[in-house]
C-alpha cells in the first residue's frame, strides 16, 4: 500500500512541522460516507467522448473508481483530464458514453448528488471579504450533515488564520481553504483537479498528507495531475491519459507494464581495465568501466555475477538494480502522438 515502507517518498512526509501539527489534532476526525455503496463503483466512465468544435478533447475514455480508493488521472497538459473531470462534475455535457457518479448521471444529478460530492477546481475561487471560519460556516449550511467547522480548519491547518479575511491569505492558504470548503459537506467522493500545480515542494508534501488524511477518513478521491511523483505518492490506481485516450491503467507499481519490464543492473569493476571474462548476457554494455545489463531475470543474473566475482576474487562496486521508474514509463507512453 502507498505510504508504507515500500514507498520511497514516505519517509520524507513526516518532516514538515506543519504536518506534525495537523496530525496532533485534539479530536479524532469523523469519517466520510454514510452511504454504503460497497458493491457499486464510485465513478464509472464508459466510452466517454467530448469535442469542442473540431477538437476532440476526449476520445473514448473508460475507467472506474472504486469506493475508498485514490485514483489518479495522469497526463500532460491538454490530454483531456480536465474535460473528463468537468463531465463528471456536471459542468460539461458529453457527446457520447456512459457516466455514473455515485450511481447517478452527473448531468441530471442535481442537488442530491452535489450534497455527496466535493469539488476542488484548478483555479482558486473564494469569497474575499469573509473570514476563513465564516466561509466554512456559510458553506457548511448548504449540506445536510456537514463536518464541524473547527474540525475542518484543523484538518487543513488554517487554525491561526481562522479569523483572517480570505483576501489576506497567501495563495497556498487560499488553496487549503478551497479544499476545506470541498470537504466541509462530508463528501463521499472528492474531485481534485491538479491540486498541487504551482506549489513549492513543501506545500506539495503538505497537500499530499492532506489527501492521505482524507482517504483515511473513507473519502473516495479522483484527482488529475501531470506530476508523475504525485500520482505515485498518492494514488492506489493510475490511469495515464494522452491525446484524449487512456494509454495505460494500473497500480503505481504495475502501470504501463512497469512490473514486467526489464530491470537494469549496473556496476563498475575498479580493478578491471576491460570487461573481459565478465558474464555479459545479450544487450549488455560496458562503457568507461560501467557495465549495464538489461534483464528480465535480475536475480539469476546477480547470482551468476556474484559467483563469478567470488571465484575470481574481483571487486564489484556501485552495484545497483533498477526498475524503470514511473517517469520512464510515463514518458514512453506519452512520447508519440497517437
Amino acid at each position: 500500500m502507498l505510504g508504507g515502507p515500500g514507498c520511497p517518498l514516505a519517509p520524507a512526509i513526516g518532516n514538515s512541522e506543519t504536518i506534525t501539527v495537523w496530525h496532533r489534532r485534539s479530536q479524532p476526525l469523523t469519517p466520510s460516507g454514510s452511504a454504503n455503496f460497497s458493491d457499486v463503483s464510485a465513478v464509472i466512465v464508459d466510452g466517454l467522448r467530448k469535442s469542442y468544435g473540431s477538437v476532440e478533447a476526449v476520445r473514448g475514455v473508460s475507467f472506474a473508481v472504486e469506493p475508498g480508493e485514490v485514483f489518479a488521472l495522469l497526463g500532460p497538459n491538454g490530454a483531456g483530464k480536465t474535460t473528463t473531470l468537468g463531465v463528471l462534475e456536471g459542468y460539461r455535457d458529453r457527446d457520447e458514453g456512459r457516466v455514473e457518479v455515485l450511481g447517478t448521471d452527473p448531468a441530471v444529478g442535481g442537488r442530491a448528488l452535489r450534497e455527496r460530492v466535493g469539488i476542488v477546481l484548478q483555479d482558486i475561487a473564494v469569497q474575499p471579504y469573509l473570514t476563513v471560519r465564516e466561509s466554512l460556516r456559510r458553506t457548511s449550511g448548504y449540506y445536510p450533515r456537514p463536518r464541524a467547522v473547527d474540525e475542518v480548519i484543523d484538518l487543513v491547518g488554517l487554525g491561526e488564520q481562522a479569523a483572517t479575511r480570505v483576501r489576506r491569505l497567501s495563495g497556498g492558504q487560499q488553496r487549503r481553504l478551497d479544499l476545506a470548503l470541498a470537504v466541509i459537506g462530508r463528501p463521499d467522493l472528492l474531485f481534485l483537479d491538479e491540486p498541487t500545480t504551482g506549489f513549492d515542494a513543501a506545500a506539495r508534501r503538505e497537500a499530499w498528507a492532506l489527501v492521505r488524511d482524507l482517504r483515511d477518513l473513507g473519502t473516495t478521491i479522483l484527482l488529475t495531475t501531470h506530476y508523475m511523483d504525485e500520482a505515485q505518492a498518492l494514488a492506489d490506481r493510475i490511469a495515464v491519459i494522452d491525446h484524449g485516450r487512456l494509454v495505460a491503467e494500473g497500480t503505481p507499481e504495475t502501470v504501463g507494464g512497469r512490473d514486467t519490464a526489464e530491470s537494469v543492473v549496473r556496476f563498475t569493476l575498479p580493478d578491471h581495465d576491460d570487461a573481459t571474462g565478465v558474464p555479459m548476457p545479450d544487450g549488455a554494455t560496458a562503457a568507461g568501466g560501467v557495465v549495464t545489463v538489461r534483464t528480465t531475470e535480475p536475480l539469476s543474473y546477480l547470482y551468476t555475477l556474484s559467483s563469478w566475482a567470488m571465484r575470481h576474487d574481483v571487486r564489484v562496486e556501485g552495484l545497483s538494480v533498477g526498475r524503470p521508474s514511473l517517469e520512464d514509463v510515463y514518458l514512453q507512453l506519452t512520447r508519440d502522438p497517437l
Binding site: 459542468y91 477546481l121 483555479d123 473564494v126 469569497q127 471579504y129 459537506g185
Partner: protein, 257 residues
C-alpha cells in the same frame, strides 16, 4: 426541502451577502456614499429654490425621492451587475455551482441582498433629507412607497442581472455597466427635474428609471395628485419581466473561453 427551509436558506445566504458587501470598500463607497454625496451637493446648491413647473414646490421635496431612486439603481442595478461579472469571471460562481445551493437560491439571495442595500441607503438619504433639508414625509403613503420600492428594485435587479450576463469579461464591465447607467440617470431627471412635456421626458418615460423616479416623487409630492401612475408602474414592471426572461437565457456560471 420544505418551503420554510428554502426561505431560511435564502435569508441566511442574503445575510452572508450583506456581510461581504459592506466589507468591500469599493462597493460600500460607490453604492452607499455616492447618493449621499449627490444629495448634499445638489441639495446645498439648490437650497431654498423652488420648481416652477411642479407648482413651486421646494427643490428638496423632489430631489430626495429622486436620489432614493438613484440609490436603488446603484444598489440593485450597478452593484448587482458588477458583482455578477466579478463572481463569474473569478470562478466564484462556478465554485458555488458545485455546492448543493440551488441556482435560484443563489440568484434570489443576491437580489434580496441588493434590495436591502438599496433600502438602507434610501433610509440614510431620507433621514438626511428630513434633517438637513426639511423634506416632508407623508407616512400615510408608506404602503405605496413600499410597492414602488419593491417593484423598482426588482426590475432594476433583473436589468442588472441581464447586463451582467451580457458583459463579456471583467475589463469590459465598468464601461458597459456605467455607459448604460449614467446617461439614463441624467436624462431621467434624477439629478435635476425635467418637464414632463419635454422631448427627453417623452423618450425616457419608456425606460425604467424615469417611471421609477416619478413614481417615487408622487409619494413625496405635496400637491396631492394621484399617488400611482399605472402606466409608469407597468413600464417598470415590463422592463423587469423582460430583463428577467432574457437574463435567464443568457446567464452564465463560468467565464467564456
Amino acid at each position: 426541502m420544505s418551503r420554510r427551509g428554502d426561505i431560511t436558506m435564502v435569508l441566511r445566504e442574503a445575510r452572508w451577502e450583506q456581510l461581504a458587501f459592506w466589507r468591500n470598500p469599493a462597493a460600500a463607497v460607490f453604492t452607499g456614499a455616492f447618493p449621499v454625496m449627490f444629495l448634499v451637493i445638489f441639495g446645498t446648491i439648490n437650497q431654498g429654490s423652488r420648481i416652477a413647473f411642479y407648482g413651486g414646490i421646494r427643490f428638496a421635496q423632489y430631489y430626495v425621492p429622486a436620489i432614493i431612486s438613484f440609490s436603488m439603481m446603484g444598489a440593485c442595478y450597478t452593484a448587482l451587475a458588477m458583482q455578477l461579472v466579478n463572481r463569474r469571471e473569478s470562478g466564484i460562481l462556478k465554485r458555488t455551482r458545485a455546492t448543493p445551493l440551488p441556482a435560484w437560491a443563489v440568484i434570489a439571495s443576491q437580489i434580496l441582498s441588493s434590495l436591502v442595500v438599496g433600502l438602507l441607503v434610501s433610509l440614510l438619504v431620507g433621514i438626511i433629507g428630513v434633517a438637513a433639508y426639511g423634506v416632508h414625509v407623508y407616512w400615510s403613503r408608506l404602503p405605496v412607497f413600499i410597492v414602488v420600492m419593491l417593484l423598482g428594485g426588482l426590475s432594476l435587479a433583473a436589468l442588472g442581472l441581464l447586463v451582467g450576463s451580457l458583459v463579456p469579461n471583467m475589463d469590459a464591465a465598468p464601461g458597459i455597466v456605467n455607459f448604460i447607467f449614467f446617461p439614463i440617470v441624467f436624462l431621467s431627471g434624477t439629478f435635476y427635474p425635467i418637464k414632463a412635456t419635454s422631448l427627453v421626458s417623452q423618450i425616457m418615460q419608456w425606460l425604467p428609471l424615469r417611471p421609477f423616479t416619478l413614481s417615487m416623487f408622487r409619494v413625496f409630492d405635496p400637491r396631492g395628485g394621484p399617488l400611482i401612475d399605472f402606466r409608469d408602474l407597468l413600464v417598470l414592471a415590463a422592463w423587469g419581466v423582460g430583463s428577467a426572461v432574457l437574463a435567464a437565457r443568457v446567464f452564465r456560471w463560468e467565464p467564456k473561453h
